[in-house]
């Protein structure tokens, strides 16, 4: 079947990036074109999303090669939801970048690389071929290396060395896993693999292969004990870049986990135990790490790690209820984590610093912006009826049904520490009187209203999305439930790809 719409979110960003390369020196043209490209991408992603929500799973066989022989692109509900979230975040970040990224960085090709990164993300979410997934991962990491180092400050380069080493290592592990998988099952198509891997008699070699994927994806999605590169690199790039990294890059690793461990390897008791252990320790180390940090972006980096533990713990429970909870959590998390890093960038332009000690008095000076940021902070903490609250009900419920009290304990500790940190940020940065008025460098107040709008608008856009998720939870739960159904029963996916 040929459904060209499936590949369009990839094509549109490739095309935008290529056009942007032609306007290397014209930064204003680049800013406009990037936002325009993202609008088109958002439109196409919405079309794809609605198409799959009401209809069947769409597939596209590249060059019309019959699957499982050719590369196939599959748009099921999980893929299209991730693609839609990517489109929303990338639109917001691209608007923010127009003023949030310096002209010098744009002159070194910030926008084209940004679009190559989004192209890689969309490709990874849509592909149905495991080796093709590896290739998209490489597209993502090479683009992210450039975005991380662009500008070349000392701290950026230091962070980039750690980030680069561990990500290349993760790719090597992932590739090794694919090689062995091909050796034992003789296929690369994920739907085909899901049938063939069940027939392999030697289960220990299957589990060993699964370990390669656990390590590969575990490094990419920053799980305990493989997450150390994240807190030492995410606080270094410009806030717009950190937003796209924090919101989406780790989530690609999580997507890999969700796809591979529901479709190809059905985890047995030992792997689920391992994933649960990783999840709980990720929550604990992430949240404790965040408590001792004093810089906004360092706190947020550790919180990314902490909250990924919720998701992996949910995957380890392996019930449909847990899947619903974790998918809802991911939808909430992608939007809000990007927003947090954009907010850190905004706070820096308000005060010239991101250190909690030196911040203060923002509420007195900018009450409206502060209330908007407050909504985001307390959504993350999960105050009902905001968006962080609903998925946790599902995760708690799933934990109780499996009688997994350790996981529930982890959830409580993680949520409590998040709440504590959000209150701390609120009181330190917004309510506290600043230590001394002379230290404040307010670049926001003195810039033109266009620049102010461009900085606040994307945060408003993401905040509205968060509010939509919170107040329209019923609709999101329907989507999450459908995705959970796809994860629990992969027969429709396999049938849509193999066509029998």
């Amino acid at each position: 079947m040929i459904n060209h719409i499936v590949i369009m979110p990839v094509i549109v960003h490739l095309f935008t990036a290529l056009v942007l390369l032609a306007f290397w020196q014209k930064t204003d043209v680049q800013r406009t074109l990037s936002v325009a490209g993202n609008f088109i991408g958002l439109g196409l992603s919405l079309k794809l999303f609605w198409g799959v929500l009401d209809g069947p799973i769409l597939t596209l066989n590249a060059a019309n090669w019959e699957s499982p022989f050719g590369i196939v692109f599959v748009a099921d509900q999980m893929s299209t939801t991730f693609v839609l979230l990517t489109a929303i975040v990338s639109l917001a970040v691209s608007i923010f970048s127009a003023t949030g990224v310096s002209r010098a960085r744009i002159l070194y090709g910030y926008f084209p690389i940004f679009h190559f990164l989004i192209m890689g993300l969309n490709g990874a979410f849509l592909t149905g071929d495991i080796f093709n997934l590896y290739v998209w991962f490489e597209v993502i990491i090479i683009a992210s290396f450039v975005l991380l180092t662009i500008g070349g400050r000392k701290s950026q380069l230091e962070g980039a060395v750690k980030y680069m080493t561990l990500n290349i290592l993760a790719s090597t592990f992932f590739l090794t896993g694919i090689a062995i998988l091909y050796g034992i099952a003789g296929s690369l198509n994920m739907a085909d693999l899901s049938q063939k891997i069940g027939l392999v008699e030697n289960r220990s070699i299957v589990n060993m292969t699964a370990m390669f994927f656990v390590i590969g994806f575990g490094i990419k999605s920053a799980l305990f004990p493989l997450y150390f590169w994240l807190p030492s690199s995410y606080h270094t790039p410009p806030s717009a870049v950190a937003a796209i990294f924090g919101g989406l890059l780790t989530k690609v690793g999580i997507y890999g986990f969700l796809r591979v461990f529901t479709l190809i390897f059905i985890p047995d008791e030992s792997i689920r135990f391992l994933l649960m252990g990783m999840g709980i320790f990720t929550i604990l180390t992430g949240s404790f790490g965040a408590v001792i940090k004093n810089n906004l972006r360092r706190i947020f980096s550790y919180l990314i790690v902490c909250h990924l533990g919720f998701v992996i713990g949910g995957l380890a429970l392996f019930t449909q209820l847990a899947f619903t909870g974790l998918v809802f959590y991911l939808i909430h998390d992608i939007i809000i984590k990007s927003n947090l890093f954009l907010i850190a960038g905004l706070i820096r332009s308000l005060r010239g610093t991101m250190s909690l000690e030196k911040l203060g008095g923002i509420y007195d000076q900018y009450p409206k912006i502060s209330i908007m940021i407050g909504v985001v902070l307390f959504s993350l903490a999960g105050i009902p009826p905001l968006s962080g609250f609903w998925p946790k009900i599902y995760l708690f419920d799933a934990g109780f049904q499996n009688s997994n009290y350790l996981y529930i304990g982890g959830l409580i500790i993680g949520s409590f520490i998040t709440l504590f940190l959000m209150s701390k940020i609120w009181s330190e940065a917004f309510w506290k009187k600043p230590i001394s008025e002379d230290l404040i460098v307010d670049r926001f107040g003195v810039s033109s209203w266009q620049k102010q709008t461009l900085l606040v608008l994307p945060i408003g856009l993401l905040t509205l999305t968060t509010l939509f998720i919170g107040f329209n939870a019923e609709f999101i739960i329907q989507i999450a439930d459908k995705i959970a159904g796809e994860m629990a029963d992969t027969t429709p996916y396999v049938e849509a790809v193999l066509g029998n």
Partner: protein, 118 residues
């Protein structure tokens, strides 16, 4: 032939891991390259190393014979080599910049303390 490749692969992995555990940036880079090549040989090994059995369907037959050299792993290796070439060249440039900036080859010196954050 296969046993030779297995030994080569083991040596590459061992040397790669050893070099990555060193604190010098150049050794780190070499370690990553060696690990990547070890993986490439692993993929090559999984594609039925046979002599004189190309994956060509002989005339008069509809399908391939029982034993043939699988072409897919070779295509995979080619892709992996091209990708690792790109990554390695980026890594070299990055490490050179870092060396120019901090004037040492030691990875332990790559820590700007939190107090210097903005």
């Amino acid at each position: 032939m296969e046993i030779l490749l297995v030994i080569t692969m083991g040596c590459l992995y061992a040397a790669g891991v050893y070099l990555i555990l060193k604190r010098s940036m150049v050794r780190l880079l070499l370690g990553i390259v060696l690990l990547g090549n070890g993986t490439n040989i692993l993929i090559f090994l999984l594609g039925n190393i046979t002599k004189g059995e190309p994956p060509v369907i002989s005339s008069g037959l509809d399908t391939l014979g029982e034993v043939y050299a699988d072409p897919i792993p070779q295509a995979l290796i080619l892709t992996a080599i091209v990708i690792s070439f790109g990554l390695t060249s980026f890594a070299i440039v990055l490490l050179k910049r870092v060396y120019a900036m901090i004037n040492t080859d030691d990875l332990d010196n790559l820590n700007t303390p939190e107090e210097e954050d903005i």
